[in-house]
């Protein structure tokens, strides 16, 4: 057993650090703190395009599709360095979700057609899984796709139904979508995985504003939407297999250890600047203990993640243990934002202006206090999405403990 980096790994770290330092856009510094619902499409894509040019956009993909061939440790270092520099996170929908599904289950034609746009960032993807009646119980989804063939339109599906909570669908060019193709089969067996061009007639996107005031999620209505049959991934009615494969990928990135480390550093800076009776808040027993507990939980999670990664590098895929990363990772993220609200005291009450604000709004208090409460409210989503934390507990109970 060894947890230290080798000299080659350290050299790699320096190379990465130097690359980020000289290439990450100055104007986006600190952008990682802003929720995505507050950033423009181009802002979100800036870093993506730079990494694409460098050839570092998908370190986790096989080399033949554009991957870097890095070891698991190098990928870990890459994540660490990005978090350290607070680069804005890349959108997972193309790079971590649908991309791997396409190169794993798609045909040659589909790989040629879709992978380049995912890599370059020219195609913005969104995830059409959840429906109003199907959240935790995703397999109950009802959006219907009926296959039809005629002279004029060729082989195609007609899709009817609706998706909800679709993150950043307002910017999307494409949606990967779970649809029901066999209403008579068992719930999991009649589902297909379809790629839908968001410009197709019959699609309406309606914003949902979250309690922190952000426009991050949407409802997507699908009314007689015509989708060419060549946009079906894999086999008809086998979509659940691909969906589960994708969710496994989603979970392993969700622990967010490196970014939480940085967030704790930020929290400590706040607590050092905030004074109680003239002395830093960070020096009080109550607060420093809470931060210490957080750090200890985070280091446990970090090693748990490393153990998971090490197992993965030996060819074992992310098993149900990945649920530990989701549960603990999100709890820690939420506690950090909660402590930040505590740390800034009275100025936590201030509503920070939204992106679309004129810039003339008055925002009182130190810079670090702006938006702390909104971050806290926004982060409540992390224990709900990607399979709620209750569902993750159920997975561990069933799959690991055998209950």
């Amino acid at each position: 057993m060894d947890m230290r980096f080798s000299p080659e790994e350290l050299a790699f770290r320096d190379e990465v650090r130097e690359f980020i330092a000289s290439n990450y856009p100055q104007e986006l510094k600190g952008g990682a703190r802003r929720s995505r619902g507050e950033m423009s499409k181009e802002d979100i894509l800036r870093w993506h395009r730079i990494l694409y040019k460098k050839g570092w956009i998908v370190p986790h993909w096989p080399v033949e599709y554009g991957g870097t061939g890095w070891t698991i440790t190098q990928r870990y270092i890459w994540n660490e360095e990005n978090a350290r520099a607070e680069t804005s996170p890349l959108l997972p929908f193309g790079l971590s979700m649908v991309g791997p599904v396409i190169y794993t289950f798609g045909n040659e034609e589909q790989k040629k057609r879709f992978l380049p746009g995912i890599l370059s960032g020219d195609d913005w993807w969104c995830q059409g899984y959840s429906e109003p009646g199907s959240g935790s119980d995703l397999a109950s989804l009802r959006t219907k796709a009926v296959r039809a063939k005629n002279e004029k339109d060729g082989d195609h599906y007609i899709v009817n139904g609706g998706k909800t909570w679709t993150t950043l669908a307002q910017f999307a060019d494409w949606m990967f979508c779970l649809v029901r193709t066999d209403p008579n089969a068992k719930a999991q067996e009649g589902i297909s995985f379809l790629l839908i061009d968001m410009k197709t007639p019959g699609i309406t996107v309606r914003p949902i504003i979250t309690m922190d005031g952000a426009h991050e999620v949407n409802e997507v209505f699908l009314e007689d939407v015509k989708v060419p049959a060549e946009n079906l991934i894999g086999e008809e009615n086998k979509g659940w297999t691909y969906a589960k494969f994708l969710l496994g990928n989603e979970r392993s990135g969700i622990a967010g250890v490196a970014r939480s480390k940085k967030a704790i550093e930020r929290l400590k800076n706040i607590a050092n600047a905030e004074l109680i009776d003239g002395a830093p808040l960070m020096k009080t027993d109550e607060f420093s203990r809470k931060v210490a507990e957080l750090e200890i939980d985070l280091s446990a999670l970090e090693v748990t993640e490393l153990r998971t990664l090490a197992a993965e590098s030996k060819g074992r895929g992310p098993g149900p243990e990945a649920s530990i990363l989701k549960i603990k990772g999100t709890e820690i993220q939420q506690r950090i934002t909660e402590l930040a609200v505590e740390a800034v005291g009275n100025y936590a009450m201030v509503q920070a202006p939204r992106m679309e604000a004129t810039g003339n709004e008055f925002v009182p208090g130190p810079d670090y206090s702006t938006g702390t409460a909104q971050d806290y409210f926004n982060m409540r989503k992390t224990s709900i999405y990607g399979g709620s934390n209750e569902i993750q507990h159920n997975i561990i109970a069933k799959m690991v403990l055998g209950l």
Binding site: T210, E286, M349, A373, I384
Partner: protein
């Protein structure tokens, strides 16, 4: 031992309930908080008309003869409707200062404006460096002839954009955090040298940063004895804490009702999600958190008149309880509503935000725990 309400108190509750049911549904409230003003002066006028603004004042002061329990009743109902109008600031705090520390002349001149709904007040006490320490003041009031000249800066003064008058704490002597040397003043917001910068708060209200630059007030602006204001400030903020506790139990009650209702009707995996035992136990914990908070709210409201130590323990204890319970109930209500709980459209997130801010107001859990253990 008797925890029942009098007939008058029940009547008061019914009055508030029917007014708010009628005029303060969630959608209306949401629209109002998004207007430029952010509140409804006509609601304030209605409160006055129905006697709510008079409820806690004695009859000699032109009130209806109630006290803390009346405030508690009003505030619990206000909490259930997320009322933004500045009852705590005007009736509980400014009213409290005038009742406890005002001269007969001040009471005669100013209480009718509160009772009648003509004057709205705000409490300018916190400063950026002071956090929750009521004595940590850099704002000064210097003797100037028979009056005073005030200089300083006050942070996050809730309700100030709506107010005409301010209660201002300032140092007339002593070092920055001394208990002695704190004085309390009445200042017109329109007085020369007072400047305000207004902004919205995350719970849908409004606040201001206020600068005092050579603001001249007369000797009659002083409430209580010069330099001896801190005990009064502590007493009145405890009264405000008692009122906020009541508001918080109103918020929690609505969240718990909404959550239980939602879990009975929302179906996943073919059953109402309330059938999952883990969620049932969570809702039981939410229920208990609310009940414990009701108990502490009753206690603090009943103990406001006791010795400083008893009152401090009751207020700090209540604030700790509602701070923790409010967080727990708020977070769980959002969680159990799933994606719906995250939306601006649903009231759940708004109660959660208000409860979060109640924890911050007048000192969060850590601050009040410390205060409790120092008093005990």
């Amino acid at each position: 031992m008797d925890f029942s309400f009098t007939e008058e108190q029940t009547l008061l509750r019914n009055t508030v309930q029917s007014l708010l049911a009628d005029k303060y549904d969630f959608d209306t409230r949401r629209k109002v908080t998004k207007t430029a003003d952010g509140w409804r002066p006509e609601m304030w006028a209605q409160f006055a008309e129905l006697g709510l603004l008079a409820a806690p004042f004695s009859e000699e002061l032109g009130g209806l003869g109630g006290g803390a329990i009346e405030n508690m009743i009003v505030m619990e109902e206000f909490g259930r409707h997320l009322v933004v109008e500045p009852y705590v600031e005007t009736v509980v705090i400014a009213g409290g200062f005038l009742r406890e520390g005002g001269t007969a002349a001040q009471q005669e001149a100013l209480i009718p404006g509160i009772v009648g709904g003509e004057t709205v007040w705000a409490f300018a006490y916190a400063e950026p460096q002071g956090r929750y320490n009521l004595a940590d003041l850099t704002t000064t009031a210097k003797k100037d002839g028979s009056g005073y000249t005030i200089n300083g800066y006050k942070a996050v003064v809730l309700g100030a954009p709506w107010a005409q008058k301010l209660i201002v704490t300032a140092r007339t002597s002593g070092g920055q955090r001394d208990r002695d040397g704190v004085s309390v003043f009445i200042v017109d917001k329109s007085a020369a040298g007072v400047s305000t910068r207004d902004y919205p708060t995350v719970d849908g209200r409004r606040a201001s940063e206020i600068t005092f630059e050579n603001v001249k007030v007369g000797a009659d602006a002083l409430i209580g004895a010069e330099g001896k204001g801190l005990p009064l400030v502590e007493k009145i903020t405890d009264e405000a804490i008692a009122a906020l506790s009541a508001e918080a139990i109103g918020c929690m009650k609505e969240l718990n009702t909404a959550t239980v209702e939602y879990c009975k009707t929302r179906k996943q995996f073919g059953v109402p999600i309330g059938k999952f035992q883990v969620l049932q136990h969570r809702m039981v914990d939410m229920f208990m958190a609310h009940e414990q908070s009701v108990s502490m709210t009753y206690m603090v409201n009943l103990k406001l008149g006791e010795s400083d130590v008893e009152r401090t323990k009751a207020a700090a204890g209540a604030k700790v309880q509602i701070g923790k319970a409010g967080r727990f109930v708020g977070q769980q209500a959002v969680q159990l509503h799933g994606g719906m709980g995250m939306t601006d459209e649903l009231n759940v997130g708004h109660y959660f935000k208000r409860l979060t801010m109640i924890d911050t107001q007048f000192g969060n859990v850590d601050h009040q725990l410390k205060r409790y253990s120092e008093a005990a």
